[in-house]
């Protein structure tokens, strides 16, 4: 009787899970498995010869793929910490009793609810070397005009990422995501129990010390969550980079100029859609997925222990 009841309960459980499983299965798991299958073949428009791990061996030696991983690393490293820091700063400001606090929250959050493609198009006008606002401002203060999204030269060293084009994309990325970080941090800040803050104040803590010993540790679950989400998001980022990095060629594909904005997701897109190397691109996508997984696990190992949960 008991066993059959338990079985019934389990069945009900699976029934409730079924719609979600079906969707995840059809649109995530099955395509991933199929991509892996494709990655084992030479597959241009049609399936051709079996290559085994041939595509993967080729990836390891492919300078363009390795470059795209390096560019992704620079992109993640240059955007995630900054957007988190600025987001936290904004959240701390917005957490004060400010006038028009609601309005500020709305304003900072606004980019995040706008379509990335629309955002990308507007910013590509801003950075347009011929009639963009960015050059207008530079010229106004006596700095020579730049080619922005068309400029493959590095801003640190001539041949090293990020190029000015990638730096511009990173700037837009930070601008876009700061509001999201601020709002999530803000919810973390409101969750800190008032009595802990009061107690610390009575003990004489204030300003930075209050932040260092009370606020920062207590929002660590939020920080950890944002770090994970932002890192995964930046590593697989596509829309903004694709729209902004169209750069230069009327018939070019993804990641211009000279491939300096070709982050890994764009590399996959470029090889899949622009060069129709379906099997090879699938292998690259698979490797990218593994890299994201590895970094997420590493993030967990490094930071999960330091997260403090209250309440």
């Amino acid at each position: 009787m008991r066993a059959s009841q338990r079985r019934r309960e389990a069945l009900e459980g699976y029934l409730f899970l079924a719609p979600a499983l079906l969707i995840i299965g059809a649109f995530h798991i099955w395509p991933a498995l199929y991509a892996f299958y494709m990655s084992l073949f030479r597959w241009e428009i049609l399936q051709e010869g079996f290559l085994g791990i041939g595509n993967y061996l080729r990836l390891v030696r492919d300078a363009d793929f390795l470059r795209s991983l390096a560019i992704t690393a620079v992109y993640v490293g240059g955007t995630v910490p900054l957007e988190m820091a600025v987001g936290l700063g904004l959240a701390l400001l917005l957490h004060q009793r400010l006038r028009l606090r609601g309005l500020f929250r709305l304003v900072y959050f606004l980019p995040y609810v706008t379509s990335q493609v629309a955002v990308g198009l507007v910013w590509s006008w801003v950075f347009n070397p011929t009639y963009g606002v960015a050059n207008g401002i530079l010229e106004g203060v006596g700095i020579p005009a730049q080619r922005w999204l068309l400029e493959p030269r590095g801003i640190v060293a001539a041949g090293a990422p990020p190029s000015l084009a990638l730096a511009a994309v990173m700037l837009v990325t930070i601008w876009y995501f700061v509001g999201f970080h601020a709002v999530v941090f803000l919810s973390g800040l409101t969750a800190i129990p008032d009595e802990l803050v009061d107690a610390a104040r009575i003990d004489g803590a204030g300003g930075f010390r209050l932040f260092r010993h009370i606020t920062f540790p207590l929002i660590s679950p939020t920080t950890y969550f944002l770090l994970l989400v932002a890192t995964i998001g930046a590593m697989t980022s596509f829309n903004l980079v694709y729209v902004l990095g169209g750069g230069g060629q009327a018939f070019g594909c993804a990641g211009n100029p000279l491939g300096t904005t070709q982050v890994a997701a764009l590399y996959v897109f470029d090889r899949f859609w622009c060069q129709t190397q379906l099997g090879y691109a699938s292998a690259a996508a698979f490797v990218l997925g593994l890299v994201v997984l590895a970094i997420t696990v590493a993030n967990g190992r490094l930071f999960a222990r330091r997260v403090v949960y209250v309440g």
């Binding site: 169209g246 009327a250 018939f251 859609w273 190397q277």
Partner: protein, 434 residues
């Protein structure tokens, strides 16, 4: 089985009786009755051009048993992506537009399309005279080797070519005439720079608008004749890159833009010269400020030692091999109709694409339009110098390499010679398979 044979025999008998009513001089072979099939046609024409195309389709449907449904699939790139996906899924339309020989070559390599030649040669096809009425460059653009034999694999439809655009007012102010050679163009740009405040040349350093036409005009080519190797690491290839470097870096007479960004400044009368296809004119005219209109000048691209050269843009039509035989035939009948003299004239005048046949060019409708505006003839006259884009299935991979090659040289990151040598190696790697 026996019944089938009987039906076939009966059909043959009927068919052989049928044509006796029609003059055999025009149709030497028997023509089966038109199949009552519906055809799906994926295209990339939207806006005004989409409306005009739909009108043509409706006209065809009202006079034919074959019924065509046109389906807009987005830009050429999106259309291509959808066709590639459809081939994967095994659910292709009956016919589609392709943007040029490289894509056709890919589809052909995947055996996804049937060469149009078999329909051209069929009783529904075209006689030698009718075929000779088509502009030879366009037939070449639609031909690829099949079993070592030059074969029509696709069919021309909306074609344009690259031209030199100029602002006659600025040229007049600078005292410059329309340049006929690349050397004259360079001098003209220098004069414009010296004598006016206008930007001499504003262009997007795309391989199609500049590198290839220049290369061809020097007698060079991008790939070897059998498309198996890079062919541009030659004095002509280096000259084709160096010329642009000279304009952009030495003379500083060229402003480099992205995409179609040159169009607005040109329309505002701030730019003397630009390079684009013949269909750019309506876009330029639309972008002109109402109080500062000027007559857009159009001329063939400048010539080199081997004459002038230009490249073909626009699209061709293909028939998919998965479509049932009757549908393929229906699709062919539609294509054939679409490129008959009346339709090609109507489409050309509505769209700015070129008429595909001599008879269209000589038709009264087209002649009277050309009398009113001789610029209609510029693109057509340039057709005799037109090259198709190399019909290599690997061109999709090669073209970005060439684009990067030009960009690198223009940014001064590599000399023309080094940029070319690097690109040659990459292209040869691509062509040797991976």
């Amino acid at each position: 089985m026996r019944i089938h044979v009987f039906i076939v025999l009966a059909a043959l008998l009927l068919a052989s009786c049928g044509p006796s009513a029609t003059p055999t001089a025009i149709q030497p072979q028997t023509v089966a009755p038109e199949p009552a099939v519906s055809i799906t046609f994926w295209h990339g024409q939207s806006g005004v051009l989409g409306d005009r195309l739909n009108e043509l389709i409706a006209k065809f449907n009202s006079t034919h048993k074959v019924q065509v449904t046109g389906q807009f699939q987005g830009t050429y790139d999106q259309l291509y992506q959808k066709v590639v996906s459809a081939i994967q899924a095994g659910s292709v339309p009956d016919m589609a537009m392709v943007s040029g020989p490289p894509q056709t070559a890919q589809y052909l390599k995947a055996k996804a399309i049937v060469p149009v030649q078999q329909f051209v040669d069929s009783p529904d096809g075209l006689s030698k005279d009718q075929l000779a009425d088509f502009v030879p460059a366009l037939l070449d653009d639609n031909s690829l080797p099949v079993n070592g034999k030059k074969t029509l694999v696709s069919w021309p439809f909306s074609k344009s070519d690259a031209l030199l655009y100029y602002n006659p007012d600025i040229l007049k102010a600078a005292g410059v005439s329309v340049p006929k050679t690349w050397d004259e163009l360079r001098t003209a740009l220098q004069t414009v720079k010296a004598k006016t405040t206008a930007t001499p040349l504003s262009y997007t350093p795309d391989v199609y608008y500049f590198f290839l036409p220049y290369l061809w005009s020097q007698g060079g080519d991008a790939l070897s004749a059998d498309l198996s190797k890079a062919g541009f690491n030659t004095p002509q290839g280096i000259a084709a890159v160096q010329y642009q470097v000279d304009l952009a870096l030495a003379d500083k007479t060229a402003v480099i833009t992205q995409g179609f960004d040159w169009q607005n400044p040109f329309a505002q009368g701030k730019v003397a010269f630009a390079v684009s296809t013949s269909v750019s004119r309506p876009f330029i005219e639309q972008a002109m400020p109402a109080d500062k209109k000027f007559r857009v000048g159009m001329a063939p691209l400048p010539a080199g030692p081997k004459g002038a050269s230009t490249d073909l843009f626009g699209n061709n039509l293909v028939i998919f091999s998965k479509a049932p035989a009757d549908d393929q035939r229906g699709a062919w009948l539609f294509m054939k109709w679409l490129t008959e003299t009346d339709q090609t004239v109507a489409w050309s005048l509505a769209s700015g694409y070129m008429p595909l046949r001599d008879s269209a060019r000589n038709s009264t409708a087209f002649k009277s339009a050309a009398d009113q505006d001789d610029r209609l003839l510029v693109a057509i006259n340039a057709l005799k110098d037109a090259h198709g884009i190399p019909g290599s299935p690997d061109w999709q991979k090669i073209q970005p390499v060439l684009g990067d090659m030009v960009t690198k040289a223009l940014l001064g990151q590599a000399s023309a010679k080094d940029a070319i040598a690097e690109a040659e190696k990459k292209v040869n790697d691509i062509l040797s398979g991976y």
